[in-house]
Amino acid sequence: MNLLDTGRWYPIARSEDAPPRHVYQAQLFGYEFAVWRDDGGSVNVWENRCPHRGLKLSLGINTGSELRCQYHGWTYASGSGICTHVPAHPGLAEPSKACALALAAVERDGFIWCAFDPATAAPDAAIGAGLTLRSLPIERDAAAVRAALADYRFDADGRDDAEPAAAALRELTPQIVELAAPGGAVRLVFLLQPAAAHKTILHAVLAGASADPERLRRHHAQRMNALRAALESTEPAVPATEPAVPMHKLLPVRRPPKREFSCRVLSRRQESDGVISLELAAADATPLPVLAPGAHLNLTTPSGLVRQYSVVNGPAERDTIVIGIKREPDSRGGSRSMHDDVREGTLLQASVPRNTFPLVPSGKRPILVAGGIGITPLLSMAQALRARGEAFELHYFVRGEQFVSFRERLAVLGDAVRLHLGLDAAQTTTALRDILHGRPLEQFKVYACGPGPMLELVRTTAAAGGIGADDVHFEYFRNDAEPAPGQPFTVRLQRSAREFAVPSGQTLLQALHEQGIAVEASCEQGVCGSCFTEVVSGELEHHDLYLSAAEKASGKCLMPCVSRARGGVLVLDL
């Protein structure tokens, strides 16, 4: 009987079982897994079950960065397993709390290992290098297979007609057995994967052999087939049974991926006149969150202010986070502090808010429009699209040559990048018309990030060109609209059972802070999403750029830094 120890590492596949863009269907102790590699090379070992409706994820599509279920198209990100896309809700940045159930996974010695308990110490078994022989699933339990290995005979040079001598057997671990041919130079290492109660996958690596690899592989395939035939012709000692415990009960309670972490500045570069980039690494051993294109970080600057910076990372960059920072001439202290106070080695506190500017899989060709430092999220998108082999255009509007940032990354993108240098407002309008008009626009999606007036121009030009509002996505730096003084209203806090008035001219956030209610805030312009607050009831007046139209219409949330009630009573879930 194969018994699971949740605190051990088990081989679940060979490295070559998970080639790019494939989903390997694996089995361990009767549990099924979808094992897949992203284009950055990282391997995921997930329960073979879509959290939505339970279809096997091994039937799904490995897009290179995500796994998409074949049934309703729910899509889960490599690494975190977070649901990134639900086709029925294409506009939502966080469409569902569903998360693929993942095991800890590492690759070593040509095998993919996994452990149910993520705290399990790294696997120490050294298989060593050698010739990969064909793995064989055998319909018997590991103990039966292990016993049969004592009688395995082979010729060190793979000669089928030679009379093989007995090999010396050594048990390295209960699952790893080594057979040394006479002389000891040629060693055959067997690895037993307990696939199910009645099924074992026998892996084998041959070290030290010098004969033709094809002959050696055929020699061992024939002998392992014979071993299997002999085993399967006997009565099984163990009946085939399904696992008694559902898999999720074996795994520790899954916490949502860590949203707050500290990081250290690995390097600082001057990217262009007024723009620096920082490369950030985790300050401790905890892995960095995987940030999808369009995602940003909330960073606490050395001055204590919290600021948002879009990540510039390409899809393969998992070990560090790269951000770009422009020194704002009218800085309120955030960008000045990042430029003046941050050096290599500086520790910074970071958190990951939800991605409000994701690449939406739509089959439509993305047109990316960047203005100035707005290049950062679009560069991340462009690199992801290039890695996936999808067509796109990146238009980068910038004041002059000396202000062009991230030149090396742009160079890799080749012809897809168009620079628009030193254009005034009228010329920018003309350029945008050239980009957005006179094409079959139902086949395009526009993503734009840059200064407010430029985004306004993109919005009106796209609308005039016939691109639907749903196909134009914006990321704002700041909200240039003057906040209206608004009507006075009453606030009732449902959970803390308090009530107070907010006069005209005071923001809801100011009133909350005045009352000593701790609500996290950052931009105070309705852009960053930090002060997101849930609403129980009330007639809302939204002035932010953060919430989607659907979220605003729901009446269930608001951004108190700029938004308020139209008089009456506002009941908050605080």
Partner: protein
């Protein structure tokens, strides 16, 4: 005009549609409902194929039955690349016909188990499944050794042949016959490759796959400069 006597849910009809699409041939279909009305046993259809089996194909005066025979005919007649059934390569023709016969074995095992599960045919499903697993073990070992020497396809060479198309449908539909492919990883990788053949089409139960990573980025620029 080519006419295919077709049933949407038949893997053997699908393999003919697959080759027609890959070769870019225009054709029309005459739908013969296999289940529940059993039109393939109707008097009208027995005049097309006295064996009462799908598919059948009419091209001008020629009337053919048997999916494998139809693939041979279409490739020999219409494939201008000469790769799907290379008439000038006797070794390949031998191998292709070996695997065409193997495809018939898949019909007799996987397809039979599927007809039992899906359409309530009175077959010994356990026996069909056991036979299917025997065949899949042979197929997996063959494909594993092809891969180990850099090959991608059933008959070696650097391009797929009609043998790949003939074996593909019922391998892919095995799940519907209660036969899991979990123990045949080389077979599953091969099905990904078949799905990436230009002109590939799906049928109910056979899903598309992501494009290969090697695809060159399509970053053509269609912009005014």
């Amino acid at each position: 005009m080519i006419t295919l006597y077709d049933y949407e849910l038949s893997g053997n009809c699908y393999k003919v549609r697959l080759l027609l699409h890959i070769l870019g041939l225009s054709y029309q279909t005459e739908d013969i409902e296999f289940f529940p009305s059993r039109q393939h046993k109707s008097e009208a259809f027995l005049r097309v194929n006295p064996l009462g089996q799908l598919p059948a194909l009419r091209d001008g005066d020629l009337l053919l039955r048997d999916a494998q025979a139809i693939l041979v005919y279409l490739a020999s007649r219409y494939d201008t690349s000469g790769r799907w059934y290379p008439l000038d390569q006797p070794e390949m023709l031998g191998k292709i016909n070996m695997w065409l016969a193997f495809a018939d074995g898949l019909t007799g095992s996987i397809s039979a188990a599927r007809l039992h599960d899906l359409f309530f045919f009175d077959f010994d499903a356990d026996q069909c499944r056991a036979r299917a697993h025997q065949l899949l073990r042979i197929l997996d070992e063959h494909l594993w050794f092809e891969e180990s020497t850099g090959g991608s396809w059933l008959c070696g060479g650097d391009a797929p042949t009609i043998a790949d198309l003939a074996c593909f449908p019922y391998v892919m539909l095995a799940d519907e016959g209660g036969i899991s492919l979990i123990d045949y990883p080389a077979v599953r990788r091969w099905t990904d490759r078949v799905k990436r053949i230009p002109g590939f089409i799906v049928m109910a139960g056979i899903f598309p796959v992501a494009p290969a990573l090697e695809t060159a980025p399509r970053t053509e620029s269609a912009l005014p400069s």
